[in-house]
Amino acid sequence: MLPYLTLIFACQLVGETLTGVFALPVPGPVVGMVLLLCYLMVRGSAPEDLERTADGLLSAMSLLFVPAGAGVILHFRLLGEGLLPLGGALIASTLLAIAVTALLMRWLTRGGRDA
C-alpha cells in the first residue's frame, strides 16, 4: 500500500509543480490524475495494491469536503444578504446543468433516437 500511496502523492506533487511552473488553468491534483492515468495506460494494467489504495481513499471522499463546508460559518452575514439571488441561482443552475448534460449525452450516445 505504501509504495502506491507514495505514487499518488508524487503524482499530485508533480501536478502541482507543473501547474505552478506553466501557470496552467487546472488544479494540481487534476493534473496529477491525468499523470496517474497516463502511467496506468503505459503500464497496461492497474496493480491490485494501487486499486486497493485508490479505492480506499475514494470511499472516504465525501468526508473530505466537510472541513471546507464548515467554512460556511465565515459567511453567514453575506449569505443572508444575498439569500434570494444565491439560493435561486444555485438551485436553478445546478438542476439545469444536470438535465442539459444528461439529456445531451444520452441523445448523442444513442445516435439521436430518443431525444
Binding site: F9, L36, D55, L58, S62, A68, G71, S93, A97
Partner: protein, 238 residues
C-alpha cells in the same frame, strides 16, 4: 470543576479535538444516511457540516481554530482527486467509445451552469460581486476560487457556493435524473460531475463504478473548460 475546564482548554486547542469532531460528525451523518435508506436527500456531507457548525457555534470556536485540526482531512482531497485515475482507467473503454459525445455534452453543460447561474442571480437582484462569485460554482473549489478572483468575485464566498452546489447536485441530481428518465450510468455520472464536481463524484462512486468514473472525468474536464471559457463569457456579459 476546574479540572474539566482545564482539560477543555487543553483539548480544544489541540488539532486532535477538531479532527475527531469532523470524523464523528461524518459518522453520525452517515449513520442517519444508512438508517434512512441511503436517500440522496440525507446527504452525509450536509449532515456532517451542520453538526460541525452547531458544535463550533455552541463552543464559540472560530473557523481558523477548527481548521487547524480539520486540515488533515481536507489535505486528503488532493490525493483522492489523483486516485480518480483508477476508476477512470477501469472505465476507459467506455470513455473512448463516446469521446465526442462526452466533449459536446460537457461543453453545453458547463455553459449552461455558468449562464443560468449568472442569469438567475442577476434576475433576482444579485450584485456584480455576487454574480462573479456564482459564475464558476460548478467547478472544483481551487479552480472556482481562482476564477472568481480573476473576474472580481469573493473567493471565500465562492468556496462556500461550490460546496453548496456540490451538496445540492448530490442530493437532487439522482431524483432529477430519474424524473427525466436518464438511466444510463455514463450520462448520469457525466451530468453529476459536470454540475457538482467532487461532492457529486463522491456520491456517484458509492452508487456505481461507471457513474463514478464518468463523474470524475467530467469534474476534471469541466475545471479545464470553465477556466478557459468563463473569463471570455464574462468579458462578453459585462
Amino acid at each position: 470543576m476546574p479540572d474539566l475546564q482545564e482539560t477543555w482548554v487543553y483539548l480544544s486547542a489541540s488539532p486532535l479535538f477538531h479532527l475527531t469532531l469532523t470524523l464523528l460528525a461524518f459518522q453520525a451523518a452517515t449513520w442517519v444516511f444508512e438508517k434512512g435508506g441511503r436517500r440522496p436527500l440525507l446527504n452525509p456531507v450536509l449532515g456532517a457540516v451542520i453538526l460541525v457548525v452547531l458544535v463550533l457555534l455552541a463552543t464559540g470556536t472560530d473557523y481558523a481554530t477548527y481548521f487547524e485540526g480539520a486540515q488533515f482531512v481536507h489535505f486528503l482531497l488532493g490525493p483522492a482527486t489523483v486516485s480518480l485515475a483508477v476508476p477512470l482507467y477501469r472505465q476507459w473503454h467506455h470513455v473512448r467509445q463516446s469521446a465526442v459525445a462526452i466533449g459536446a455534452s460537457l461543453l453545453c453543460g458547463s455553459l449552461t451552469a455558468i449562464l443560468s447561474a449568472v442569469g438567475v442571480g442577476w434576475a433576482l437582484g444579485g450584485t456584480e460581486a455576487i454574480l462573479a462569485s456564482l459564475a464558476p460554482k460548478s467547478v472544483t473549489a481551487p479552480v472556482a476560487m481562482a476564477i472568481a478572483e480573476q473576474i472580481g468575485g469573493l473567493p471565500s464566498l465562492t468556496a462556500v457556493i461550490v460546496i453548496v452546489t456540490g451538496i445540492l447536485g448530490a442530493m437532487a441530481g439522482p431524483y432529477l435524473l430519474d424524473l427525466i428518465g436518464v438511466r444510463d450510468w455514463k450520462a448520469r455520472g457525466l451530468a453529476i460531475g459536470t454540475a457538482s464536481h467532487g461532492i457529486g463524484t463522491a456520491r456517484a462512486l458509492q452508487v456505481n463504478e461507471t457513474a463514478g468514473a464518468f463523474s470524475g472525468l467530467a469534474m476534471g474536464l469541466n475545471a479545464l473548460a470553465t477556466a478557459l471559457l468563463l473569463p471570455i463569457v464574462w468579458g462578453l456579459l459585462f
